[in-house]
């Protein structure tokens, strides 16, 4: 199932073509930084000429042609400069470029976008670098837009992107699809980066931070593109489904002042039904194919939540079973924490609290505010309000998110007010 697409505006077309063009030019000339400059110039030329003269019959070919011409000009002028500097160096360089003679553009362009993504999400990069480079090179966002989204100065972001390019260059990763052996691992890196971009946007407080929520939209757009390239991959479909099913709740997730509203308290009529339907179709299709992965399971859990019209209708036994599968797949303490919540909903809060004790002993979540927040919630369910207040306060003191701090403080205050009338 393909989602409704915005009408292909002019800028939209350019943004869609940009990574394909960049991919093609990088493959020909093997110089990421120079290729990016050349593609920017080609896009600029298109933005000037096309409105006047109309969009050419083959816009992608037009852009590649213009960008490649810029690259050739650049190489010629580089060579000329170097010639003045040292004849021998020029010869070496020329030999290099002969070796990298533009090959026939035979591979379908779909591969170029994919190769570009693999490159931007290279394991040699830190996640913040990979995120920035992906948004820049594949997402087509400007450096200023990315800086804005991550609330850092533009110069800082420009530097981050430039260093990421250097790292990619230094890693000497060939511009080609990874081998069959590497493929699963490299695709996992790509999906992880897309997931991080989504979360960056989703977990930000809404309202005042509109720029950040656009990151979720961008992550969905990019994941949709990867899904179109690899329609048979269950985890890609699973990640896209997870994003859609999570993002569907955005309108209900925050109140008028940006305050967080828990899943239980949300006005479910505000949820985006189309996104939920698409997400469910995607995850159902992926799961039926057999190779189950962590994103598919998380999407399935999100789907179970989204299918309940009221919080009390939630099919917790199914969620518990899905978390059980997920725990067998990954040794992530956060998954174990969510499993404890599901267990509490099915077997009662005391069962959940016992699982938390085991998690606490494990040590990996020591000092993490979410452990306290979940404990507070389960203690409240168990009727131990005083202990619940203490843990809500503990969690509020530890979180680094202001909306979350306010939410947790409110929970403590709510229980406090119930205990002693003010």
């Amino acid at each position: 199932m393909t989602a409704a697409r915005a009408p292909l505006g002019f800028e939209h077309l350019l943004r869609e073509l940009a990574p394909q063009v960049l991919g093609s030019v990088v493959r020909r000339f093997r110089d990421f930084a120079a290729a990016e400059d050349a593609v920017q110039e080609a896009l600029l030329a298109a933005a000037m000429q096309w409105p006047r003269e109309g969009v050419p019959d083959n816009p992608r070919g037009w852009l590649i042609h213009v960008a490649a011409r810029r690259m050739t000009d650049q190489i010629r002028s580089d060579l000329a400069r170097r010639q003045r500097e040292a004849f021998i160096l020029m010869q070496e360089l020329a030999e290099d470029w002969v070796a990298a003679e533009p090959d026939v553009d035979s591979e379908p362009d779909r591969d170029d976008t994919l190769i570009l993504l693999f490159m931007c999400c290279h394991p040699a990069l830190t996640s913040s670098s990979a995120i920035a480079l992906t948004l820049r090179a594949v997402g087509g966002l400007t450096t200023a837009e990315i800086a804005n989204a991550f609330l850092v100065p533009e110069a800082t972001m420009a530097q981050r992107i430039s260093r990421a390019k250097q790292t990619v260059k230094a890693s000497r990763v060939p511009f080609q699809l990874p081998t069959e052996d590497e493929r699963a691992q490299r695709l996992a890196s790509v999906l992880h980066v897309l997931y991080l971009i989504f979360n960056e946007g989703y977990t930000s407080s809404a309202g005042a931070d509109l720029h950040r929520s656009e990151l979720s939209g961008e992550a969905i757009r990019l994941t949709r593109a990867v899904h179109a390239l690899l329609p048979g991959d269950g985890e890609v479909a699973g990640l896209l489904a997870l994003m859609l099913l999570t993002d569907a709740r955005r309108p209900a997730r925050t109140g008028p002042d940006g305050e967080l509203i828990s899943l239980k308290q949300q006005d479910r009529t505000l949820w985006d039904r189309d996104a939920i339907a698409e997400g469910i179709t995607l995850v159902t299709g992926a799961l039926s194919k057999g190779t189950i992965g962590a994103y598919q399971l998380q999407a399935a859990i999100a789907a179970v939540h989204d299918e309940a019209d009221r919080a009390q209708d939630t099919d917790w036994p199914q969620i518990l079973a899905l978390y059980g599968l997920l725990m067998r797949m990954s040794d992530n303490p956060m998954v174990a924490l969510n499993h404890a919540i599901a267990a509490a909903m099915v077997h009662g809060p005391r069962t959940g609290l016992e699982l938390l004790d085991a998690l606490e002993a494990d040590g990996r979540l020591t000092g993490h505010h979410r452990l306290d927040a979940v404990r507070a919630h389960l203690l409240e369910l168990a009727g131990d309000n005083q202990a619940a207040i203490a843990h809500y306060l503990e969690a509020a003191g530890r979180t680094a998110s202001l909306p979350e701090r306010n939410y947790l403080a409110m929970q403590a205050a709510r229980l406090g007010a119930a205990a002693s009338p003010h």
Partner: protein
């Protein structure tokens, strides 16, 4: 001229989450006050930055060891005050910075009356244009 307005909150009565021990309405009034102050500063073109800091429970002081690796100390339970957050405002005069600081200081507290928190006002040194 840029000024940094540093809001120091008394630790006493701010156990753990601080405002988490207040009644619900008081928390809401406090949050609303801070949001409208920031909105006003933005509208007036005086806002540069404002950040609330995570609780002092996790605060650490770091010094370099001889080999340059970090040596962490803290959190310091005995401290009487902690830095709860700051604003950086871009204003025409020192007096205006003081006015804004006074407004922030008067944020409503537990029983709705002004907290009169100490706000330290420091001018931000101007940097060369290319910094």
């Amino acid at each position: 001229m840029k000024y940094m307005l540093m809001m120091h909150a008394p630790k006493e009565g701010w156990t753990n989450a601080g405002i988490g021990t207040w009644p619900k309405e008081a928390i809401k009034a406090h949050i609303d006050f801070m949001m409208s102050l920031n909105r006003k500063l933005k509208e007036d073109g005086e806002y540069f930055d404002a950040q609330g800091l995570a609780g002092p429970e996790e605060a650490k002081v770091v010094r370099a060891r001889k080999d340059g690796t970090p040596n962490t100390d803290g959190p310091f339970a005995e401290a009487k005050e902690f830095l709860a957050g700051f604003w950086i405002v871009d204003v025409d005069s020192t007096e205006r910075a003081y006015e804004i600081a006074a407004q922030a200081s008067a944020a409503p507290g537990k029983d709705g009356t002004p907290l009169n928190m100490p706000i330290e006002v420091r001018q931000v040194m101007s940097a060369p244009p290319d910094a």
